[in-house]
Structures are given as C-alpha cells and as structure tokens.
Amino acid sequence: MAFWRRRILSLVGVLALVSLGSYLLLDLLPGGPEVAILGPTADPERLAQVRSDLRLDDPFLTRYGRWVNDAVHGDLGRSYDKNRPVVDMVRERVPVTLELVLLAQILALTIAIPVAAMGAARPGSLFDRIAGGASFVFLSIPGFVIGIVLVLLLAVKLDVFPASEYTRLGDDISRNLHSMVLPAFTLAIGQAAIYTRVLRADLLDTMEQDFIAAARGRGLPRRRVVFRHALRPSSLTLVTLVGLNFGTLLGGSVVIERLFSLPGMGKLMLDAIPARDFTVVQGVTLFVAVAFVIVNLLVDVLYSALDPRIRRVPPPG
C-alpha cells in the first residue's frame, strides 16, 4: 500500500505544479491575462470589461482555483482569435497527434527488437558493430534533420510518399496511413536507436544468467535462446522507456507536425502563436502535460504488474 500512497501523492504534487505552471504562463504575461484573451490591439475599455468579467482583480489563489475548477470541468477558456472553446479545438487535434505518436512507437519497436536481438545473439559481430554505430549516429541527429533528408529522398526525389498532404483517418484509411509514413518514421528513428541500445544491453545481462546457460547446455543455438528465452525477461526497462517516451514523442511531434504540416496539437499550438492566441497555447500545454503525467502513472502500474518486486521496494530517488 505504501507504494500506491507514495505514487498517488507524487501524482497530486506533479499535477498541482503542472497546472500552476500552465496557469502562470498567462498570468505572468506582460499586461495580464486580458491581453492574452483579447489580443494586444484591443482597446482599453474592452480590456477593462474583460478584466471585471473574469474577476481578474481577485486574489491570485482565488483565480487559480477557479481556473483549475473550470479545467477539471472541461473548460479551458476561449480562443479570442477563433472565438471557440479551446477544448473543442484541442479535441479535434488529439487524434492526429495520437496516431502519429502510436505509429512512431510501433515502428520504433519493430526496428529495435530484431536489431537488438540479432546484435545480442552475436555481440561484437559486424552486424552488431554497425547497429551500434548507426544507433549512436541516429541518437545525435535532430529529428527534423532526419525528416528533411527523408522528405528530400522519398518525397522530392522518388515521389513515393507525400511531403505535406494529410488525409484524415476517418476519410480514407490507406491514404491516411500513406500520408503518415514519413512523419511517423521520422519520429521513430531516434526512439528506435535508444530502444536498440537499451534492449541490447539488457539482453546481454540476461544472457549471463543460469537459466540461459541451462538452455544453451541443452544445445539450443544462441540466436534461438535470445529470441525465445531472453527477450521477455529483458524487456522491463524497454517497457518503462516506451511509456516514458510518450512524453518525449508528444514534444517531438510538435516539430514533426510543423515539418509535415500535420494538423495535430503541436501545429495548433504553433499556429496560435503568430495570432498571439495564448489561451490556446496554454490549453495545449496543460492538456499535453496532464496526458503525460497520466501515461507515466499507467506505466508505473503496468511495470509493477509485470514485476511485483517493484511494489515492495520504494523506488530510489
């Protein structure tokens, strides 16, 4: 029980800080939140009007409490630029980002698991060394650079995939997937590099253990042992990492959505910036942060279900 109490307490703490951070984004804006809502060119009378409408002269904690209460009830304010509830705008964009992130994770794992297993089956082999070098390089190259190179090769030169042409999932699944290949692959490569390195290291650790020696002693070939016996017990770190990386990918998708003109949450946020439509920026920030916190909690739950020992030992840190 102590594990869960600790976990939930830290969840509450993190959510409080995250929402405070998102609230302060607008509250600390030069000119105050009313400028964020009406835009910098609004006339002073309307500014004063909004100021009293929103009771912005109340003490900070009152305002913050009210804002959190609204957010919990699904009200993230209105976009002054589009004159629509921010929540509706976010809701429209969620599926695109979610699809991008999920596809990227699937692609990354599809690449990483076989590559890591083949490397661990023959450590130090030519394949292992090439995979190691490649993963180091792909870890270092920024995602948008990888994306530009892919666009140049596959969209501009070979014209296999579109560089910026989005079809909604509901309209046509195959065209949608076609338009998502490049963005998802761009987002996946760096993750695949990380996953490969982590899984390979864990596999090599597992291969030192007795039950593997027993399997090898029965005369099973090393590669078969890696895939059939070592893979599952070596996958714990990978599972955690995949979960934690949803946040990384949500951030990364801002860049990728911009690069490929995908109408996801990141693009919503970036498009709102030139219009100084900051309620939208704030809404997306809060939404993404809360989603990330919840995913992290789910990962912890999953992780402790996979390995019950975790629950007994308080996590270090």
């Binding site: 607008l26 270092s140 650079v145 951030g251 801002v254 920026v281």
Partner: protein
C-alpha cells in the same frame, strides 16, 4: 530517460590510450567551431546582405554553401549561426550546472525533508514534456536569446541536480566526511571542501552531453520558429528557411543541417568517450 542518463553520469573516465582518431576528430571539429564563432564578425561576407540575382544559387567555389532564398551567403550565415548555438549552449549549461548542482548537493547532504522536497520538485519538472514547455514559454515571453537560454537552462536543472545528488549521497558516507561532521565542521565548509571535489568530475562530463542536448533543443525551437528572434541568424532558422525549397535548392537546408548534426554528434562522442563509452546518451523531447 533523464534518470538513466543522470545515473550513468557517474562512470569512471576511460584511460587516455583508448581514445582513438574519432575522438580527436570530434575535438578538432568542436575547437574549429569555437574559433569560427569567435571570429565570425571578421568573415568578409555579410550574412544579411541579399544578392537578388543569386537567389537559391547552388554551391560554388567562392561561396561553398551557395545562397538562400533571399540571395544571402549560407556559409556566412552558418558561421554567424554558430555564435547563437555556442552562446545558448554555454549559458544554458551554466544555469543548469549552477542551480542544479547546488540543489543536488543540498539535497544529498541534508537528506530527509529537504531531499524529499527538492526531489519532488525536480521530478515534477521532469514530468513536463520539455519541448512543449519551451514552445509555450518562448511564445508567450517573447523570442530572444535570453528567453531561449533561460528556458533551456531551467530544463537542464533537474538533470544536473540528479547527478550532483547521487555523487553527494555516495560522498557523505566516506570516512573523512563523517569525521569532519563529527568534529563539528560547518556544513558549508564540508560541502565545499570535502564533497564538491567528488561531484565535480561527473558534473563536468555531463555538462558536455547537456551541451549537445541544449544545442539540439535550440535548433528545434528555431526550426519551428519559436527560438531566438527571426532577426538573429541561427542554424535552425536557416534550415527552416530552405525547407519549402527542397526541390529546387536542397543545399539551403542541407549544409546547416549537416553542421548542426555533426556538432551534436561530436559533442556526444566526446562526452560518451570521457564517460566510459557504451552508454546511452539521451535527449529530451527534441526529436
């Protein structure tokens, strides 16, 4: 992600003889970059002057990187862009190292409530998708080198704090520290003279890797148009400028992209080698 990197920061440095040609090449590239950034104003070509007749002109003998969509010399722009990357990189790492290092020392030395408080706050910071936060803050606070540096610097704080804290927790168990405490030495003196020397090494090595992360985030922010202001030449900005013209003029994006990638690669390679190699060097949501 962060956690992993932070904990790996403690490994012992590798023996000098193991460092090969690649290590020296990487160091040479970084040294060249520093020289270039310092001397960029002396470069004869003006990075802001557009030659209307040479728009999108490809690489040539006198202008090895060619011209961008406004007819500006790309090599000159890349040279000037190095200044932004290095300034933001150095200062943001300094912020992370200074604040994060101090927090980690305090948390590890005093432990108990202080530790719990600091660790909770730092974990909350890690719980925030870094790039989203950076975009939101630069968008709202205005785009400038100062804002970008400050935001990325704050993002670096929890990483440095973790490493400093881990080193401190190990050091306070050492006999000479226990002795100093038992003799009633002042905390500030013990931390400065007995513990700090144990923590500085891993922090410095990590600073190098953090430098790579910072340059990457700065590049990504400038690429999506929320980094340093549009008037300041930055690598991410130059790359973004060529993105729409990949068909006619791929060189506009590719040269600065290659320079940016090589720089991060070099930083990571040097950092990884110093740290003992074989570890995963990770970055925060900047993909």
């Amino acid at each position: 992600m962060f956690r992993r990197q932070a904990e790996e920061g403690r490994a012992e440095p590798r023996a000098r003889s193991d460092r090969g040609v690649l290590f020296r090449l990487a160091l040479a590239w970084l040294a060249l970059l520093v020289v270039v950034a310092v001397l960029a104003p002396l470069w004869p070509t003006d990075p802001d002057r557009g030659h209307l007749l040479r728009r999108l002109e490809g690489p040539g003998w006198r202008h090895p990187f060619g011209f961008d969509g406004n007819g500006r010399d790309i090599l000159a722009r890349v040279l000037h862009g190095a200044r932004v990357s290095l300034i933001v990189g150095t200062l943001a790492v300094a912020i992370g190292l200074g604040i994060g290092g101090a927090l980690g020392l305090v948390a590890g030395y005093f432990r108990r409530r202080v530790d719990t408080l600091i660790v909770t706050v730092l974990d909350s910071m890690l719980a925030f998708p870094a790039l989203v936060l950076a975009v939101a803050v630069t968008a709202i606070r205005g785009q400038s080198v100062t804002t970008v540096t400050a935001v990325i610097g704050v993002l670096m704080v929890p990483l440095f704090a973790r490493i400093a804290r881990a080193g401190t927790l190990a050091a306070v168990e050492r006999d000479y520290v226990i002795a100093a405490r038992t003799l009633g030495g002042r905390s500030s003196r013990i931390v400065r003279q007995e513990i700090l020397p144990n923590v500085v090494g891993p922090l410095i090595v990590f600073a190098l890797l953090a430098f790579g992360i910072v340059i990457l985030i700065e590049g990504a922010l400038s690429f999506i148009g929320v980094g340093v202001s549009v008037d300041t030449v930055s690598w991410g900005g130059i790359i973004a400028g060529g993105q729409g013209r990949l068909r006619e003029a791929p060189h506009v994006s590719l040269f600065p992209a290659a320079v940016l990638s090589l720089t991060i690669l070099a930083v990571n390679y040097v950092g990884d080698t110093l740290r003992g190699g074989g570890s995963v060097s990770v970055r925060i949501g900047a993909r």
